[in-house]
Each structure stands twice: as C-alpha cells, then as structure tokens.
C-alpha cells in the first residue's frame, strides 16, 4: 500500500525525467546514427570517423580548444575563489553589487563583447590567442560565480577560515588546503561548466577571427556534413571519457552530513 503511494508520488518525477532523457538523447542518437551512415556503399560504417582522425587539423584544433579551455578554468579559479572567499568572509556591502555584475555577461550581446575587446585590449594582447581565455572567463562568469557561491554558502566559511588562520595557515594555504577541498563538488562543477562553455564557444571566437575547434567544425560542415557530425560526436565523447576517468581516479572523501 505504502509502496503504491510512493510510486504514485514519484510518477510525475519519473515522467519528467523520461521526457528530459528523450529530449536530450534522441537528437544525439539520431546524429550518431546519421554520422555512421555510408551513403555511397549503403549501410553503416566508421568511414567518417576514420576520415576525421586522419585529418591533422582535427587534433590540432581539439588540442588548441582544449588548452584554451584549460587556461580559462585556471583564470576562473585563480580570480574567483579568493575574491569570492573574501566577499563571503568580509560580509562586504559590495557583495550584492558584484552578484549583479556577475550576471551581466548573460544580457550583454556577444557582439558588444567582441567589439569592446577589440577597442580596449592592447595590441599585443589582441595579436595572441591568449585574449580568448580572458573573454571566455567573462562569458562563463555567471555560471562559475553561481556554482562557487552555492558552495561557499553551504559551509561555515568564516569559522573555518579563522580556525585555519589561527592554526597557522596563511591565506593561500587556507584557500588551497581548506576552502577548496571543502567546497570540492562546487569547484568541480565550476571547472566542468567553464571548460564546457569555453571549449564550445563559437560566436565570440569567430567575431575575433580566431580558429578553434568549433569554428573548424563549422568550416568542415560546409562541404562534409557527415564528417562534421562525426567530429562533433567525438568532441562529445572524448571529454566525457576524460572527465569520467578523472572522477574515477580521484578518491571520493565524504564531506557531507555536517550537522
């Protein structure tokens, strides 16, 4: 009886999850199915995948986008973690203002960003691809900020920080050995979000005339749509495998259940 009740209560949830799964996976499965078609011979095969990995540019661009995203993640963590820790610990009155500012990248059109960057960045920055990570950082700010904010709000940050300092840890040590490990899941979410947004960023990159993996895929798609889909599928699968491997190899330390 109770079991039946429970099932009935969970019914809407199950339906929603099912719909969501279909919504996400049907297009992906369709794309995958499409990408392994071999129109000339008929049937299915790995032709386009083999073609893609034989392309030198495939690895060139995926590597480039990978390290750009990596640099963006580093910039995000180095700037945001200490700043937000300070905002939370000091209970600064500017915090609501900064909360608001962190949302601006969602409402400012990317074109405006690109133009702004062209105007304001010094020439030597504009001439290197390093301008991208800084702009990617701004674009992923709303997500990274929110995710860290949740983590920092969920712990007794002030007491823990003071306990670390009175135990002899300076600020760098406090952040690296106490705060980041304690909000680990929120830091991981920030890394994942920033990485994903940066590796897939297209509009800004194109506007600033840089070539990265997404712009190359678009270029390929102009005369080899099946190849482009194969490349996109791989760009989904490869990071997925990397992230899964990382998660499996980092030992999970239980930090929940705090009273």
């Amino acid at each position: 009886m109770a079991k039946a009740m429970k099932l009935r209560q969970q019914f809407p949830l199950v339906i929603t999850l099912l719909l969501l799964t279909l919504f996400v996976f049907i297009p992906m499965i369709s794309a995958f199915e499409y990408s392994i078609r071999t129109p000339l011979e008929g049937g299915y095969g790995w032709t386009h995948y083999l073609w893609a990995i034989r392309e030198e540019e495939f690895f060139h661009y995926i590597f480039r986008s990978g390290w750009l995203a990596g640099v963006t993640v580093l910039i995000t963590l180095i700037i945001l973690v200490p700043t937000m820790t300070w905002l939370h610990v000091s209970k600064s009155p500017v915090r609501p203002v900064i909360d608001g500012i962190s949302l601006l990248p969602l409402v400012i059109p990317v074109v405006a960003f690109a133009v702004g960057a062209q105007i304001s960045f010094p020439e030597f920055v504009q001439n290197t691809v390093f301008e991208l990570p800084f702009l990617y950082f701004v674009l992923s700010l709303p997500y990274a900020y929110r995710s860290l904010d949740i983590g920092l709000n969920s712990i007794p940050l002030k007491t823990i920080t003071e306990a670390a300092r009175s135990s002899g840890a300076n600020w760098i040590k406090t952040i690296s050995t106490v705060i980041i490990p304690v909000i680990r899941s929120s830091v991981m979410a920030t890394i994942a979000l920033t990485f994903a947004l940066s590796i897939g960023e297209y509009t800004l990159t194109v506007l600033l005339h840089w070539d990265t993996f997404p712009t190359w895929v678009t270029y390929v798609a102009q005369d080899n749509i099946l190849g482009a889909i194969a490349i996109s599928m791989m760009s989904l699968i490869i990071p997925f495998l990397i992230l899964t491997t990382i998660t499996l190899f980092i030992p999970e330390r239980s930090i929940q259940g705090r009273k």
């Binding site: 306990a163 135990s167 002899g168 106490v178």
Partner: protein
C-alpha cells in the same frame, strides 16, 4: 614552546558607532586561566579576537611574553583557538584536523600524527582518530577542536564560548576537562563566556566586562563576595536589591541595623544588595514582615521567594531541611544574616 604571559594595553576598537573596546587593559599571567564574562555585546569576544589577530585594534598594544605582537598576522601568532562550533575541517579526518597546525608548521608527517594521537588520547578520542568530524557528537567535536588548538603547543590558548552550543551535562564535563588539561599543560588561557557559572567554576580569575570596559577582575570568590560595582554584583550570581534608608553608615533592613559598605557619609534612600543565602526565612519569629510566594525544591537547597509588606520581592536560598514548613501564603519573618551589606544609589 612554553606558555607566556599576555597583556593588553589600552586597546580601543570601534565598529561604526559602537565602541567595542574602550581603553581595555588586561594581564594574564603564565599558566593562568582568565575568563572574560559579560552580557552579549560587551566586547569580550572582540577582546579575544584582537588577541588572536582576527580583528585589529584601532589603538593600543597586545604583548605576549613582553613582545609586541600588534602587527603580527593571525597565522604567525602561535595561538590555539577553540570556537563556538563548526570549526573543524570537514574534509579532514579527526587526526588530520588535530595535526593541521603542525602540518602548517612543516612538521614531518610521522611526527605530527604522533603528536595528534597524544592529544587525542588526552581528550579521550584516540579511538575516533580515523573518523570524519561529522560522525562525532557536538561534545566530541569540541574535544577535537581543543586537541587541535593545543597540538602545536601554543603560547596562548583562546577559548571563544566553546561550550555554549552543547547540552548542559556535556558542558559541565567538558569544562572540567578543559581545566584539567589547561592545568596539566600549564597553558596561559583566555576564556570568553556569557555563562557566569562556567566562568566561576574553572577560572583562576574572572574579568567582568560591560560596554567595552573591564569593570572588575578578581578571583571568583572576591568577585562574588566583594563586587566592585552594582553591575558586577547584579551580573555575578543572584542579588536581591532591597530598598533601604542609609543614615550614618548604617542601613536598616527588615528592622535590623547593618553596616553599609559605601564610600562617603550620605543620608537617603539606597538599594541594599544582598545575596539570597544571606537571608533567612523563618515561621517562628516574633514579627512577621513577609509572605511566602513560592518555594522551589532543588535537592539539598531550596529557593524561597517572599514578598515583604511594602511589596518588595526577596529571594532566599536555604537548606531544604530548614524550609520544610514554608508554603505559599505562609506568614514569615525575614532576617539578614550578614553584618554588612553593599549599597548602591537608587
């Protein structure tokens, strides 16, 4: 590292318009446990945080072993601190928490774990060393916090209301344990609390604070028996405030003349400050001057609350044996047992 003496000289600290510390002076001797006691907002926690380096005073000096540490950052001060609650690092095990201070001092892992186990043994938690802190009870967590604060052999131990989040029984046990450890290690300790019983129970000296000023600092006995001000008298223990008339250095209370402890030679209306145990309630007297309102039985002693004929409420503490025949409504005679009383202006 051995313990050192601590002194605060002329500390001022202001938050906005609120003066948290107003020319605050304090001396804590080597190996002494001094408690700062006071109502919330009196500045006691600020004083402790200034010592820890977590707040910086506007002016004045903090000296440890006669060395001025006013401009040394918190992490270099070598002070162990125990907070109210939730100060343990949730990502570390119990032993890693205790060893944290030693890790920051770059002590090798085997050495610091050995020291951590020694401390955990002292607080009776060595068997829990591999657990995570959320698996411990509140009392156990505070024991770990105490072990962590002591592991790196601090010059000064700072306790910021470490017992206030705990259950009554755990609180009493843990405060005894803090005192036992503090005495055996000889650590100079500053203890902040709003609980006077706690402060009186384990401290060598207690400082009573009010509005950023140290009103009186003395041994618990002196503080209780010879409070320097009416604020201290009212804050430490229970005190009856009985309207009386002062004349020629004497006050008349319940029809008896008693020496008034007061400077000057004035005449007029005052309040006499009398401890409940200095008032005797009896049914056998010749002139009844009060009525019993309630009697609360507390085991060996009982609390009797009476109302005098002029309406003053008086509280008396007597052995339960002597209060057996007191019932609400009984006509009684109140007598003062002490020969001298503190008085204060109305």
């Amino acid at each position: 590292m051995t313990s050192k003496n601590l002194s605060l000289n002329g500390i001022f600290k202001q938050f906005g318009n609120v003066r948290a510390l107003d020319n605050f002076n304090l001396e804590v001797g080597v190996g002494e446990l001094v408690a700062l006691l006071g109502p919330s907002g009196c500045g006691k926690t600020t004083a402790l945080r200034v010592v820890a380096g977590l707040e910086h005073q506007d002016s004045g000096k903090v000296l440890v072993g006669n060395q001025d540490i006013s401009n040394i950052p918190a992490h270099k001060r070598n002070m162990g601190m125990v907070f109210q609650a939730y100060s343990l690092f949730p990502n570390l095990t119990v032993e890693e928490n205790v060893a944290f201070g030693l890790q920051m001092r770059k002590i090798s892992k085997p050495l610091r774990l050995k020291k951590a186990h020694q401390l955990l043994d002292l607080v009776g938690l060595d068997s829990q060393s591999k657990r995570f802190t959320h698996q411990l009870s509140g009392g156990q967590q505070q024991r770990v916090a105490l072990a962590r604060a002591l592991a790196f052999e601090p010059e000064i131990l700072l306790l910021d209301e470490p017992l206030s989040a705990l259950d009554a029984q755990v609180r009493v046990n843990l405060r005894e344990e803090i005192r036992r450890l503090q005495l055996s290690l000889g650590t100079t300790t500053l203890f902040v609390t709003h609980d006077q019983e706690e402060a009186m129970a384990i401290s060598d000296r207690v400082g009573v604070m009010n509005q950023g000023v140290l009103e009186q600092i003395d041994t618990p006995d002196i503080l209780y028996n010879k409070p320097a001000s009416s604020f201290v008298a009212g804050f430490v223990g229970t005190m009856n405030k009985i309207p009386a008339f002062i004349n020629d250095g004497f006050v008349e209370i319940f029809g008896e003349k008693v020496v008034a402890l007061k400077q000057g030679n004035e005449t007029g209306k005052v309040l006499a400050l009398i401890r409940p145990e200095a008032i005797k309630v009896s049914t056998t007297g010749s002139k009844f001057n009060a009525k019993v309102l309630t009697r609360s039985f507390m085991g060996a002693s009982s609390n009797v609350i009476c109302q005098t004929s002029d309406g003053t409420i008086v509280q008396s503490l007597m052995t339960s044996a002597a209060t057996g025949d007191l019932h609400p409504g009984s006509e009684v005679q109140l007598q003062i047992l002490s020969k001298e009383v503190l008085v204060t202006n109305v």
